[in-house]
Subunit: 240 residues, 2 copies
């Protein structure tokens, strides 16, 4: 219901692109035309179009118009790392999540640094393995500050912690910083994953921040080399 006007226009235009009413290469109506269609002001239309542009659906060209792009349909949903769930869904492959550890700990030196916490604070530690087609591919180690996440259960971890945090606890995730690099396998990797002949894993460190800019989660995700994949869609910034 009471959606923002510019968001509802964004969604309306998006669905027209996805349904093929606006086809790749085509120009969508001009801002002036859209102002009349949606009976709103030009800045509101521009907000909707800028969103479409930032998400890679259209390209705005000064003096010409906005044309529909075709880059996105080949790809995974939005820019960024495809999650385990999305991957499994896309590929239509049988998969499951195994909760290996769930405990309350005090942070060690490394974790204190990553989570910006003191030695006295309580931290949830969750270790999960993601299995696709019977192969244990990804090792996820999540750490949550108990201050933000008072309760966790194996059941919640086996489903989606993510959904629990956003829907049940109403935590508003605002932004995340990710780091990727390759590391030699650890004992822990060998214990939990089916590594085959691979001697290295791709490590993704994920720092998640809430709406009020407080860091509440640190995750280390360790992927078997051959099953790692990432897609990034980046708009170039033209300052100056």
């Amino acid at each position: 219901m009471s959606e923002n006007k510019y968001l509802s226009i964004y969604n309306d235009l998006l669905s027209k692109i996805e349904k093929g009413i606006f086809k790749p290469g085509m120009k969508i109506p001009s801002e002036h035309q859209l102002v009349e269609q949606y009976e709103t002001s030009r800045e509101t239309i521009r907000k909707a179009l800028n969103l479409l542009s930032e998400h890679g659906y259209i390209q705005k060209i000064k003096g010409k118009g906005s044309i529909v792009l075709d880059v996105r349909k080949f790809d995974f949903p939005i820019s960024g790392l495809i999650s385990f769930k999305e991957l499994a869904q896309k590929l239509g492959k049988p998969s499951r999540t195994i909760v290996e550890q769930l405990e309350m700990i005090k942070p060690d030196e490394v974790l204190k640094k990553h989570l910006h916490v003191t030695a006295r604070e309580d931290i949830w530690k969750v270790v999960r393995v993601r299995e696709i087609e019977g192969e244990r591919i990804i090792l996820d180690k999540d750490f949550f500050n108990k201050k933000f996440v008072p309760f966790l259960s194996k059941d919640i971890c086996a489903r989606s912690i993510y959904e629990y945090l956003e829907k049940e606890l109403q935590l508003k995730i605002s932004f995340a910083k990710k780091e990727f690099f390759v590391e030699e396998c650890t004992e822990e990797d060998r214990m939990y994953l089916h590594l085959k002949q691979y001697t290295h894993v791709v490590v993704v460190r994920n720092y998640v921040y809430l709406d009020d800019a407080s860091l509440f989660q640190y995750t280390e995700s360790r992927h078997r080399l051959d099953k790692f994949r990432f897609v990034d869609f980046a708009r170039r910034i033209h300052l100056h």
Copy 2:
């Protein structure tokens, strides 16, 4: 000189953050105050603040204000893959670029698909090796449609093709799509890189689009495992 007003405000605020005049955790002046300081309208201030927010420098909180974040200073400049140059600069290490191949070719099947071209079009192929501290770390294979880049020389390739395209040819790069994955080393990798004991490379496929949404460059960048690093800063989108 004749810079946009909102961009000059953005740059001014940014330099105050980087100089520490606005410190992490601090609130910057309210939009109303900034309107008076910069003698402009509120929407213009908001454009500048939204840019700062999108680039991860501040966090806007409704009803409270905008606070300065501290996530970025630990990291490489803007979100996205750090380029060879940035890496070398950051680490202050001696480095150079070696142009191994520069030729005009007709696209094979794979390239036709990647560059969206026909078999008759001419394609520049550039193969370069990036060396840091005497080690050949990265193999870059660039392909340009001759339609957009009529002339290239070894000299240009040894410096920065990038600068040449933007400054000399005035090409406006608009957005890029990147794919990351890990692959087994090829003969070519072994020939050009110092791979040490590593049996795999991190492959980055880069598709670059111009302002008019035409695809003009395809690049395959092959990194030795231990020297690959990526940082991503992603704002979470809250639709609905």
